[in-house]
């Protein structure tokens, strides 16, 4: 009996690992998109331009105010309907990345506004432009403050990425479900899937803690 279960797991393991690799890859690309978009949105939010502020705010509100699943459906099923076919992987990466960008944008914004306004004034009083003050004075300090919330955001993103299994991406969740459809061992396989997700988020937590310690050496 136990031997049977071990054998089932052994058979499932390579498939699950392949799925986990897809999960990691999709999440990594989505994180990169999220950081780029989020940084732009965050900077736009604190800029003096009302237009940039408005665009950024609207973006953030839209992506935070609608379900990620619907955003994925829009990209995967909606776009082909109007003649744009991204394919399921690209739709998954883009969906997760665009969505994450909204949350990262909020994090970047709050990181920047948490820096005492005397810092900007001191930098400007020395003759720095807004851009120079941001680059050399404000952002280096803000980065330290955003690492913990960004880490949490990306851990959440890794977990949310299981939704892409619904648009036929062969990620960890989908691999698990495929195996179950053959052997009906849903308790065993979903447990294994959960453990693998947990190991991944656990390692990410360690990584974030390490980055946090590295960044705080100077104060």
């Amino acid at each position: 009996m136990l031997v049977d279960k071990i054998e089932i797991l052994q058979q499932a393991f390579p498939h699950l690992m392949r799925g986990a690799a897809v999960t990691v890859r999709i999440t990594t690309f989505a994180v990169m998109i999220g950081i780029v978009i989020g940084t732009i949105l965050g900077l736009a939010r604190v800029s003096k331009s009302k237009i940039l502020q408005g665009v950024s705010k609207t973006y953030i509100e839209f992506f935070r105010g609608t379900p990620l699943l619907i955003q994925l459906f829009l990209l995967h099923f909606g776009l082909p309907n109007i003649g744009i076919d991204l394919g399921n992987y690209l739709a998954a990466i883009l969906g997760l990345g665009l969505n994450s960008g909204a949350y990262v944008g909020e994090i970047v914004r709050s990181g920047i506004i948490s820096i005492d306004k005397g810092q900007m004034e001191a930098a400007r009083s020395l003759g720095m432009s807004y851009y120079e003050a941001m680059r050399y004075v404000i952002l280096p300090q803000a980065i330290k403050r955003v690492v913990p919330p960004l880490g949490n955001e990306f851990i959440a993103l890794l977990k949310d990425s299981s939704l892409v299994s619904i648009i036929a991406v062969q990620d960890l969740t989908r691999q698990g479900r495929l195996i179950i459809s053959r052997n009906y061992e849903s308790f065993l396989i979903f447990s294994a899937v959960a453990v693998i997700y947990f190991v991944m988020t656990f390692m990410m937590t360690r990584l974030v803690n390490w980055a946090e310690r590295r960044l705080s050496v100077s104060d």
Binding site: E121, A122, S125, L126, G127, Y136, V137, P140, D219
Partner: protein
């Protein structure tokens, strides 16, 4: 050197400066005193455009700074500012705090900027703190570094907004000593302070501000011993 003509500043509906006319000559040390909320900081901050000016004109070296053609960043390089709460950059050590702006803004070579920084550190008596971070310094030390940082841009004017108000009493002296030395070297200075001893000893002129106007301006001797205006008298009676 600095000329202010009918300067007005409002925050929304609140008019904080109600028409200031003032002329500050090269090498002059002008001390600004007055009750809280009278507009002293706002006046000072208008001189380097940290506040945008609602109406009126400010000239530095003959050039109007609040005109659309004026280059704000260039003007500010020429007017150093020292803040009540120091505003050192906490993520940079003392040396980098001082060299950052000369290197990034003026394009001074790193090595040259460090030489200048060490000279300034010597001047403010903190040569041994070059590698320290701001969080490792006392308030008095922080403020002396902030002065050195402003001086590194080699400004022609230095603006001080209550530079000793956030300090423990025993540290006030060391900061005032640095400012005194600066004054003796002929630096043009505008100083908002409650240190009447400093005003008397170092000031060439004292401006008494109240409710957004300069009520009285004269040499320290006259202001402190023989004030003309009722409002000046009652303010001095309260603080002396």
């Amino acid at each position: 050197m600095i000329k202010v003509k009918d300067l007005h500043k409002s925050f929304g509906d609140l008019e904080v400066l109600k028409g200031i006319d003032e002329e500050i000559t090269k090498g002059e040390v002008v001390v600004v005193i007055g009750p809280s909320g009278s507009g002293k900081s706002t006046f000072l901050r208008c001189l380097n455009l940290l506040e945008d000016i609602t109406a009126g004109e400010v000239f530095i070296n003959g050039a109007q700074i609040n005109s659309p053609q004026a280059n704000i960043n260039e003007i500010r390089q020429n007017t150093g500012m020292v803040f009540q709460h120091f505003n050192l950059f906490p993520h940079k050590n003392v040396l980098d705090n001082i060299t950052l702006a000369p290197v990034k803004v003026k394009g001074v070579k790193e090595k040259k900027a460090e030489e200048i920084a060490y000279d300034l550190l010597k001047k403010v008596g903190l040569k041994d703190k070059a590698m320290a971070y701001p969080s490792q310094l006392s308030g008095g030390q922080k403020q002396r570094i902030a002065i050195a940082r402003a001086l590194a841009m080699q400004p022609e004017v230095m603006l001080f907004d209550e530079p000793t108000s956030a300090l423990d009493p025993e540290m006030v002296g060391e900061v005032l000593a640095v400012m005194k030395e600066l004054a003796h070297e002929g630096m043009t200075m505008v100083v908002v302070t409650h240190e009447m001893g400093f005003a008397r000893e170092v000031g060439d002129r004292v401006l008494f501000m109240d409710a957004g106007v300069i009520v009285e301006a004269d040499n320290p001797e006259n202001i402190f011993s023989n004030p003309q205006e009722e409002r000046t008298k009652s303010f001095l009676a309260k603080i002396l």
